[in-house]
Amino acid sequence: MILDGKTPTGPIEKTWDKHRFDMKLVNPSNKRKFKILVVGTGLAGGAAAASLGELGYNVEAFCYQDSSRRAHSIAAQGGINAAKNYPNDGDSIYRLFYDTIKGGDFRAREADVWRLSQVSNNIIDQCVAQGVPFARDYAGYLDNRSFGGAQVSRTFFARGQTGQQLLLGAYSALSRQVKAGTVTMNERTEMLDLVVVDGVAKGITCRDMITGEIKSFWGDAVILATGGYVNVFYLSTNAMGCSVTAAWKAAKKGAFMANPCYTQIHPTCIPQTGDHQSKLTLMSESLRNDGRCWVPKKKEDCDKAPGDVAEEDRDYYLERKYPSFGNLAPRDIASRAAKEQCDDERGVGPGKRGVYLDYATAIGRVGEHTIKERYGNLFEMYEKITDENAYKRPMRIYPAPHYAMGGLWVDYNLMSNVPGLFVLGEANFSVHGANRLGASALMQGLADGYFVIPYTIAGYLATVKPGVITDEHPAFKESKEQVQADIDKMLNIKGKKTVSELHRELGKVMWEDVGMARSEVSLKHALQRIPEIREEFWNNVNVSGTGTELNQQLENAGRLADFLEFGEILATDALHREESCGGHFRTEHQTDDGEATRDDENFAYVGAWEFKGNDKAPELHKEPLKFDNIHLAVRSYK
């Protein structure tokens, strides 16, 4: 099937304005008759729930934490992009659009990226108006810095806590709507199924995580803003609760999963210390603005203290390989380059999976005070975790799974192929293509939530009658029974392995075989191992406690069960894609000097998978991508 992304035609500069004008509107007095469910209250969902509530819709929102302020968006450190051109260095909406398309290795839809670039400026204004304390210069104007993959300074930041401040902004807007009565928040509530009636999304089934009660909620439209899935690798920079559950349950109800193999491996994370490790910590990419990456040229030097390796014996590999971008090379390139150095046995630190990120030059140039001002909290965090002082000794970093470029397929209106189901933020596949540039996920989450969905959802709601299908419909009972049956099944296995043990096993397969570099052989191995681990899960997992109480083991078991199905589709997607592209590197497809080789002739499409059952191959649907404004070009950062 050829998928229709419903992209507007005409000159790209006019697409969003024209589309907005052409869409139907919902009469203000009718808005409160519509009930919209928003699952996830991170940047994307929080912004959406607040904006829709403000417009007068009747919104019910959900998150699994105890407060919407704790969504994983809170952890973003580095910053958020916008094309304001305040620094007067030549930025424009067109340039942001260009960088994003190229940075994503030509696997995103042009019109969606244009819209993102266009609304990026409104986001900054909106957040400033909310009281987000962005960094300012002494004259009182907003400050900017640059980020990996861009040669202009377009990144706005709030110290090293940009995501936190943006999320608190959205959370405060949401709090205002909760107070106003337009939004009802359901915290500690996990969505475990999507309810579909006659092919249309009409509600969700959730577990109350305190009492264990299984509850259904009906809505005239369902919005998923449930974040990314890279915890499928077990160790990642994501929070412990991040899962694919909501998206995967929707996929099992017919929503297509697009480009699942595009995962981002972030270059600047703190290396793993041992098997007890439960997550990896990201050091913001902004660190690469001033830090220089190097490893010893000679293997023998790897055990020496970094200060004892002479200048001429250091390999500043990013500066050597990519002279024009140097340490600011995009993430996929920087990650792969780090792995190459370690594979070449020139890694440093325990386990030799690490490279140095060195501030000595920058401290010499601008002084320790300025470096402290710029990155102080990151240095503190690094010291807490590693017990090392990075002002004195270079940091050690290594790549880690970080972000999901893939996700549920959506059209230009952010609606999935299941009518009534909208997907926002990291949970959808939309604007990043095969590689996400730094500081653009926050931009996307807020663009989707504040400035896209409020318009596009109206176009859909104007075609449905509110409140016709409620939780009285038998589909809701059926969904509840299914959810309960799955829970009972997991609790009754009473096997020998714990959920974390099995998750670690899955993670190992995903990282080794489906991680930074993959091959037909490794992928086929993964496709054999994943079903085996899944089989073992359903026969040998030990989930303690009961279903009618707060039970974190049960929560984790459910999330792992979904990763065990989803992981297979991720590997299937990677296997079918016979090219190297952005965050997806197939070792069979590279140039002589190890750069990724993309195949536009055969793969310039979005690959959207339809789930057909665990014992059946999923079906691939394609949405061809057209590049009318930006010429397909080899992405070179040399």
């Binding site: 962005f134 110290r159 936190q164 041992g274 007890h276 439960s278 965090m381 109480e549």
Partner: protein, 246 residues
């Protein structure tokens, strides 16, 4: 290293709860405190017992979800450190460690180490925002904000809403938390029109939610993992006086 843990176990809000003792063996200095508990839980599950439940999510010290009183100190009492960022290297072989939930009337225990902190959201809903509508706001540079002001607002805005200040305070006061938000918004040009109503509504809600009053013990500042300063409480008080003065 080998440690002995005394952990608060409580099946539900109505249960009385007790301290139970578990050994933690072969703990590596590189582990975080929560990773140490993960390992203990693995052992409990394998021996047919229920795992200890505790709140956590980001494990990066930023989401504010983790909340444990360790040896009498919220978040373990290490300067500017959340439990998830506390590392085992700060303990030594043979240590006995007491692990309990936040204790405050406004934070009822849900189970084991998990408490209900909804009251903090209620305070935010009472006015912890600027009433701007999405869209149609002026350009971000339309109102220049001097760097010292922006920095002051940011210092206040760093609060992660964990509630350690409440747990550390002998009166279970949530003044530090509330003052941080009030101070942030009070110094910025946005939302000035509602500044008085904000302080009043947030303070009234704080009292209604069952939090105690501030009597200057400064335990909140000592417990806060983000180093939020008590100077913001002084700011809150000044802002409050303005509302009385008309």
């Amino acid at each position: 290293m080998n440690l002995t843990l005394h952990v608060w176990r409580q099946a539900g809000p109505k249960d009385k709860g007790t301290l139970e003792t578990y050994p933690a063996k072969d703990v590596s200095a590189d582990m975080s405190f929560l990773e140490m508990l993960d390992e203990v839980n693995e052992g409990l599950i394998k021996s047919g017992k229920q795992a200890i439940v505790f709140d956590h999510d980001c494990r990066e010290g930023i989401c504010g979800m983790c909340s444990q009183v360790i040896n009498g100190k919220p978040h373990g009492g290490q300067d500017r450190t959340t439990v998830c960022q506390l590392h085992m290297r700060s303990f030594k072989d043979g240590d006995e460690i007491f692990i309990e939930p936040w204790r405050a009337r406004a934070f009822p225990v849900i189970k084991d180490l998990i408490v209900d902190r909804t009251a903090l959201d209620t305070i935010m809903q009472a006015g912890g925002y600027v009433s701007c509508h999405t869209g149609g706001v002026p350009d971000g540079n339309a109102h220049p904000i001097g760097k010292p002001v922006a920095d002051y607002a940011m210092d206040a805005a760093e609060c992660i809403g964990c509630g350690a200040c409440v747990a550390g305070c002998p009166n279970s006061s949530a003044m530090l938390f509330t003052s941080a938000k009030v101070a942030q918004l009070a110094v910025l040009p946005q939302g000035q029109h509602e500044a008085k109503a904000r302080v009043k509504n947030m303070t009234d809600t704080l009292q209604a939610a069952g939090f105690g009053n501030c009597s200057n013990h400064l335990e909140c500042e000592a417990s806060c993992p983000k180093g939020i300063s008590v100077k913001f409480i002084a700011k809150l008080n000044r802002e409050y006086i303005k509302t009385i003065a008309g």
